[in-house]
Every structure is written in C-alpha cells, then in structure tokens.
Symmetry: C2
Subunit: 135 residues, 2 copies
C-alpha cells in the first residue's frame, strides 16, 4: 500500500477569469470544467490542476470539506530540456515576466514566473530532482 | 509543446516535525530531504510533494522566488479502488479522523482527512475524474 501518484494539485486564485485565460491560453492546459466564481479545473497529463476561489471554498459546502488559502502558492511543471528555450520565448511573447532562472547542480534548469494571482509557477527540466524525471 | 506533468505540488505547514511524522509514518511517503525549519520534501511516484514553512519561504531568498500561503490547502492522492478499504482502516488505526467520504457519480470514491496543519487531504480512487485514472 503506497501512495505513488498525486491526482489533484491546487492553487488559489480570486480572479477565475484571469486564471482561466492564463492557464488555457498562455500555458496551453486543457480545460476540464469551470464553475461560476468557484473554480476552474484543468487536466495536466494524468492529474488535475484545480484552481479555486478561496472566498468560496473556505465556506463549508454540503459534501466536500472546506479548504482555501491566501498567499502565493507554488506549482512546478515538468518540461523536456530540449523545449526549455521554446518555453522561454513563448512566455516572453505572451508578456509573462520571467522572475528567475536557475541552473541546478545536477543539470536541471528551472524558469520561474507568476500567474495573474501571483502564484509562483516553475517550468523544470529533467535532472531537477534526479528522480527519474524522464520516466 | 504541452505541459503534461506536474512535477511539484506544495502544501504549507508551520510545524515541520509534525508534518514529517505524519506524511512519512502515517501516509508512508518517501522522505527526500528536510531542511531545518524551512521545508520537508517527499517523493510521490515521479513527482514531489513539497511541504514548506511559509514563515520562511515568504521571505525573499537569494535564488528561488518567494512563495507561501496561510490557510488550508488541498492535495489528492490516487489510490486503487481495491485498496480503499485498507486505507480507511489504516487511517483509523493511526487515529486519523475521516472528515468525509464521497461516492462520485462516475464510480470513484474519495476519503477526506486532515494533515496536522489542517490541510485537506484526499485519497481518490479510479473513476473520480474519468481521465484515465488507471493509466
């Protein structure tokens, strides 16, 4: 009995329309569902990226336990090293400011930028963790 | 050029020792690294679950952009349906209160509970999203 797959990763955003536009149009994620002012869900491979409005989800619902946070969360997406330069150009073409770039000791590279809500996003290439990123 | 893998999922916890004990001893995740009062990192399959103390990571560091949030985040782990009952018993044996259980319309099942910091954790079986959970 071992947990070996994260199925849902969450970030909190209060402007769902801005998030929807950014994650779909700039990052190219596949929309799964959008519900009023509560959430917008994207599929990312065999997992889900869930963007919630914490003002709504912190209120107790009828089924799902409440959750929500204020601040700047963080998510990293895996990117093939060969595509890193293309992503760098893609972000700049969409006027996304690259906040930092890091070359890790084990050969990985990371690019950091922000979503419209200020969440810290990262594109990280193989080698970043040395955990079989290429698997 | 498509993002199809989330490499890093984060939660924020201020008591890293309590989180370390819970995620390693109760959830059985594999420790990757622990740094003082800043973070504890676990590997989960081909991704990383990063637990950060927001008091530290919200301060600007020298390389990595600051991030951090206060509140109750959410992460879901995929669990085989056949193991759901074992997990239910396992949580109860470790005195983890099950906050909610949901049977989804498409056949998936979810169990919700909290980590010591109050983050909402979920074990979700195949069928929960209908996105090839069994892939």
């Amino acid at each position: 009995m071992k947990l070996n797959r994260i199925l849902e990763t969450c970030l909190y955003v209060r402007d769902l329309d801005a998030a929807f536009q950014f994650y779909q149009d700039v990052l190219g994620l596949e929309l799964f569902s959008k519900m009023d002012n509560r959430h917008v869900f994207f599929r990312c491979g065999n997992a889900m990226l869930l963007l919630f409005n914490p003002d709504i989800t912190m209120e107790a619902g009828k089924d799902v336990p409440p959750h929500g946070a204020y601040g700047e969360g963080h998510v990293a997406f895996y990117v093939e090293k060969a595509e890193m330069e293309k992503w760098r150009r893609h972000l700049l073409e969409h006027s996304v400011e690259i906040e930092a770039e890091i070359a890790w000791p084990n050969g990985g590279e990371s690019i950091y930028f922000r979503d419209p809500a200020g969440n810290s996003l990262e594109l990280a290439s193989s080698g970043t963790w040395g955990i079989g990123n290429d698997e």
